[in-house]
Every structure is written in C-alpha cells, then in structure tokens.
C-alpha cells in the first residue's frame, strides 16, 4: 500500500476519466513538469494502484444490446469444487465478470448478449449447464455509472 498526496489523487481522478492523458498534459493541468508528472504516474502503476485500462465502448453499437447480471447459488456446495465451476464459467465468451461473493449468492456474473433471445440461449445452453449451478437470478442492466470513489478521502 502506498501513500498518495493531493496531486496523486488529482492525477488518479483525471486518469480514471481519460487514461490517454499524457504526462505532459497532466503536468500542465496540475502545474508540474512533464518528467515529474511521468514519475508520479509510473510510481502508481508500479504500486499497482493504476491496475490497467478499460476501453469504454457502445456495446449496443457493436451488436450487444443486452447486459444481464446473474446471481448464482451453487446447488451442491461441498461436492462440486469451486475450481471446476470457475474454470467452466470463465470459458464462456459472453461472461465478462465473475465474482466470488458471500451472501444470498455464491457468484455474481455479468453476461453480454445480442438481445433477449440470445441471452436465453446463453442462459440455457451455457449457464444452466455449469457444474453445480443451482438457483439463478437475472437482472437486466438499464444504466451504469462509474463514480470517482473516495479519492478525496484516501
């Protein structure tokens, strides 16, 4: 864990909006030289605070009009290995996110599909046939919004 100062946090806020900002642009925006800005970005990358990039696309324009979150409860817990379930679920191309969670469900998945009919196909052929799958709850995503998070408090 590394300590961040106000400038680092301002950099993170800016990069979380636009990861393509160059060190020169960041420096100009926050009153630092290009090399000083570069060193700060590099330090946060090396510490793993900046973990990578996310390309934001218009999924509907690419033909994926439906995003569904699934909550999955495993039916035969203890007998089916979590590894088997995880290996099988991560092999499904339509599954973007797999999270192991504690609560009402055991896993949380984000699934993309072309339309509701396509989603039904993925659900029936791919999800319901996963090893150990039990109760499944589906919620269709309407809107999503990423927030800057507690960068003012970090």
């Amino acid at each position: 864990m590394i300590d961040l100062d106000d400038t680092d946090r301002a950099f993170l806020r800016a990069l979380a909006q636009d990861a393509t900002l160059s060190a020169g642009e960041l420096g100009r925006r926050f009153g630092l030289s290009q090399p000083a800005a570069w060193r700060r970005v590099r330090r946060m990358e090396e510490a793993g605070v900046i973990a990578g990039r996310r390309v934001v696309v218009d999924r509907a324009a690419l033909g994926f009009g439906v995003t569904v979150f699934l909550g999955i409860k495993l039916a035969t817990r203890g007998r089916v290995s979590l590894e088997d379930f995880e290996r099988a679920v991560t092999a499904i191309p339509e599954v973007q996110v797999v999270q192991h969670v504690l609560g009402l469900f055991d896993y949380r998945l984000r699934v993309v599909a072309r339309d509701i009919a396509d989603f039904e196909r993925v659900l029936r052929r791919r999800i319901m046939t996963l090893p150990g799958v039990g109760n499944v709850e589906a919620n269709v995503l309407l809107t999503e919004e990423r927030r800057p998070g507690p960068l003012g408090l970090a």
Partner: protein, 151 residues
C-alpha cells in the same frame, strides 16, 4: 457500418487495452496507419467512447468491497431519481447501476475495513431515500473482469 477489420481491431483492443497502436495493428493484421485511422473513425462514431484508468482500491487500503442490491419503494414516482442523486453524494460508492428485475439498483461500496464499512452502511446507505429492501453480497474474489466482447 462496422466491417471485419473494425471488429478485429476492437476485439484485440478490448482484450488488451494497454497495447500500443503498433502492437494492436500487429495483432489485428493491419498497418499501424490503418489501425490508427480505424480507431479515429470508431471514436468519432461514438463506438469507442473513451479509455479509463482502472484503480485497484485494495492497493490503496480499501480491503472491503460490498455489492449492495436495492429494491426501491416505487409508489413514489421520484424514487429512482432521488435515490440515485443521494447515492452519488456518497464518496465510498464506486459504481451505480439500475436494473429491470427483482433488483432496482445496485451500488458498489468500498471501505478500509469492516468497522469502516459498518459506519458507511449505517450513516450513508441506510439513510438513502425510498429503500424498500437491501441485500448485500460481500466480494471474496474477482475471478474475471474484462470488457471483452465476443465480436
């Protein structure tokens, strides 16, 4: 609209967003100039909307991540708007989603530890307007996270 070259470039870009344009071009089997032009075109058309840095909150000491799922009291027509506006004011909220289904809205909430989470939950979450029901999923591990599409 989109041809096979566009799709190939997008597929590789979504799978590996940190690739340079030259490397991306190599993977997609086009020249760097073509790749750059196609990306410009896709961006201008709004297909590519931007690139965001991914922050690893655990590295900043936020050890707890909870997915809170809400059913709202929809007898009030302003329920969604009020709830979303209030949720935006909570700094520990990193994502806000709305759904069609049993769940109306979902918030991702992060905190440094369980004590801090409990504090946020009591003071900032339970006080959000128009909540009918809440359930919580605590994150144990993210097994996979990608924006990749089977395009």
């Amino acid at each position: 609209m989109l041809d096979d070259t566009d799709r190939r470039i997008l597929r590789h870009l979504l799978a590996e967003p940190t690739l340079s344009t030259a490397d991306l071009a190599g993977r997609a089997g086009v020249t760097t100039a073509t790749c750059w032009r196609r990306l410009e075109k896709l961006t201008a058309a709004g297909v590519v909307q931007g690139q965001q840095a991914v922050i690893d909150w655990r590295r900043l000491g936020y050890e707890v991540e909870v997915s809170l799922r809400f059913t709202l009291d929809k007898t009030d027509p302003r329920a969604f708007d009020d709830f979303l506006a209030a949720a935006r004011e909570v700094p520990e909220v990193t994502t806000i989603e709305t759904f069609l289904g049993r769940v109306d809205a979902r918030l991702t909430v992060i905190a440094r530890d369980m004590a801090a989470y409990q504090e946020v939950y009591r003071r900032k979450i339970l006080t959000l307007p128009h909540i009918a029901e809440i359930d919580a999923l605590m994150l144990i591990a993210t097994i996979r996270e990608t924006e990749g599409l089977p395009v």
